[in-house]
Point group: C2
Chain length 287, copies 2
C-alpha cells in the first residue's frame, strides 16, 4: 500500500477529489478527514470520501503517513502550528496552495526552518465550484501537479508525494518556489484579476442590466473565472503580491499602448498585436 493512513486537512473540492482518486486507485488504506465543522465531516464520510474524521488537528494527524493540507492559504500557518508537535518522525506533509512562497514562509515561521518532509505542492486543477459535494475522482486525470521541493527536502518524501499525485492520474513537475509563483501569476492569477475587473467594470455601469443581457457566448467563456471564490482570490492576491504586481504592471503598460494605438488609428500596431496574439493562442491550443 502506498499510503496506510492519509490525513486530509480541509475536505473540500481539492482535498475531497484527491481522497476519492486515491481510494479509487486502491493506493490508500484509511483516509482521515479533518475540519472544524463536524456536520461537514459527517457528510464527507457519508459520501464515501473519507473513512474517519476528527475535528482536532492534533488527533487527525496521529499516526498518519501523509498529511495533505488543503485549506485556504491564509490558514496555512495556523495548521502548521496545530500539527507541529503531533507529527510522527516519518510523517510526510504536503499542501495544495496556489502560491508556494507564502506556504514555505509560513512553515519557516512555525518550524524555525522548513521541515525536510514538507514538500510544497500545487495541483493545476479545479472548477469554479467549491465543497466536498463538488469533488470527483477524475479531477486530476491528465492534469499537472507542480511540486517545489527545497534543497534540504527529503528525497523519499519527494518521491512519496510524487507517487501519490501520479496515482491520482496527474503528471508531476518539479520547479523552484519563486519560479512557480511567477509562472502562476502570469497564467492564472493575472487572468482572474482581469475577469473580475471586467465584470465589475460592467456591473458598475448605469445600464448594467441591459449590458449583461446583450453579452454573447464569448463573454460567457471570458468571464467564467469571475465566478470563482472571492475569499480564495483575495488570499492569492496578498500571498503572491510581488509576482502578481509584476505581471499586472506589464499588462497595464501593454494595454495602455493598445489604447494609444486605437486613439491614433495605428493600423500596423493593431494588426501586429492581434496577429501575434492569435498565433500564440492557436499554437497553445493545438499543443
Amino acid at each position: 500500500m502506498l499510503i496506510d493512513r492519509l490525513c486530509i486537512i480541509g475536505v473540500g473540492l481539492i482535498g475531497g477529489s484527491l481522497a476519492r482518486a486515491l481510494r479509487q486507485a486502491g493506493v490508500v488504506s484509511t483516509v482521515v478527514g479533518c475540519s472544524r465543522d463536524e456536520a461537514h465531516l459527517a457528510k464527507a464520510r457519508q459520501l464515501g470520501v473519507i473513512d474517519e474524521y476528527a475535528t482536532g488537528m492534533a488527533e487527525a494527524v496521529q499516526g498518519a503517513d501523509m498529511v495533505v493540507i488543503a485549506v485556504p492559504m491564509q490558514a496555512m500557518r495556523d495548521v502548521f502550528a496545530s500539527i507541529k508537535d503531533h507529527l510522527g518522525p516519518e510523517t510526510v506533509i504536503t499542501d495544495v496552495g496556489s502560491v508556494k512562497g507564502s506556504a514555505v514562509e509560513a512553515a519557516k515561521q512555525v518550524f524555525g526552518e522548513v521541515p525536510a518532509r514538507y514538500i510544497p505542492g500545487h495541483p493545476i486543477a479545479g472548477t469554479e465550484k467549491n465543497g466536498v459535494e463538488a469533488s470527483f475522482a477524475e479531477l486530476y486525470q491528465n492534469r499537472r501537479v507542480i511540486i517545489t521541493p527545497l534543497p534540504d527536502s527529503d528525497q523519499a518524501a519527494v518521491n512519496l508525494v510524487s507517487s501519490m499525485w501520479q496515482s491520482a492520474g496527474a503528471e508531476v513537475i518539479s520547479m523552484g518556489v519563486e519560479h512557480h509563483d511567477e509562472v502562476l501569476a502570469a497564467t492564472s492569477h493575472l487572468p482572474h484579476m482581469l475577469a473580475y475587473a471586467l465584470v465589475d467594470t460592467l456591473a458598475r455601469m448605469d445600464d448594467k442590466q441591459e449590458i449583461f443581457s446583450y453579452a454573447a457566448g464569448g463573454f460567457r467563456d471570458f468571464t467564467r473565472i469571475a465566478s470563482s471564490n472571492p475569499q480564495m482570490w483575495h488570499d492569492i492576491c496578498l500571498a503572491n503580491q510581488s509576482a502578481l504586481q509584476n505581471v499586472l504592471h506589464r499588462f497595464r503598460d501593454d494595454l495602455q499602448m493598445l489604447i494609444e494605438a486605437i486613439e491614433k488609428g495605428d493600423s500596423l500596431y493593431l494588426k501586429e498585436t492581434f496577429t501575434r496574439a492569435k498565433l500564440a493562442r492557436d499554437k497553445f491550443v493545438s499543443e
Copy 2:
C-alpha cells in the same frame, strides 16, 4: 415566399449561415452569392449554400428583393458605391457589421443620405472560425439580432429584415445606432481587447514557451476570443473608436485601483470587488 431573390454579398460564416438557415426554413426562392473570388463562390454553390453567383456586384444585386452585405466593415463603403446604381426601387438592404455608426456613415457618404430601405443590422452570433466551410444553418437559433432603424427608415423594409432574421431562428431587437455601439463596446469589443492584450503580454515574456505550457482550463476559456480574426478586430477598433475608448478608459482606471489595492493589501477593497463581480456574473449566467 418571404424573399424571392436574396443576394448575399460576402459568403463567409455569417452570410453563409444566414443563407443556409433561410433555405432550411423555406422562406427564400433563390440565393445569389457575390464575392471577388470565383473559386470561393463555386465552393459555396457546391456546398448548397447558394443557387447562383456573380463576381460583379452590379450583376449580383440585379432583381434582388433583399441584399445582405456581409463583408468586412472597411469594405462597406465600396460595396455601397458598387451597388448604388443597380438597386431596384423596392430592394431592401441590410448588413451584419459589428459597428453600426460607421456603416450608417458609409451609406450617407455614398448615397448622400441614408436610404430609407437600408436597415442596419447586427447578429450577435459567430464563432472564432471563418469562411463558408464553417457556416451552418443553426448559427442564429436563439441568438439575438439587433437592428438599428433610423427615423426615416421604411417600415416595410424594417419588417422584412426582422422577418428574415426571425425565420433564421433569431430574436430581433431594435435600438438606436449610438446605443448599439456603446453596448457592444462594453460587452464584446472590450473583452476582445483584453483577451488579445493578455495573450500578447504573455507571448512577449522571456519564458513564454513554459508559461503557455502551464496555462490551465480557465486560461483556455478566457483567451478563446483571442483566436478571432485580427483584420476584423482591427476594423472594429477603428470603426467604434470613440465608444471603445470610453470603456477602455473606464476599465483601465478600475484596473489601476485594483493594482493599488493589491499593493496596499487593501483586503476590504479586494473582497468587495471580487464578490460584486462574482454576484453579477452568477446572476448573468442564471438568466
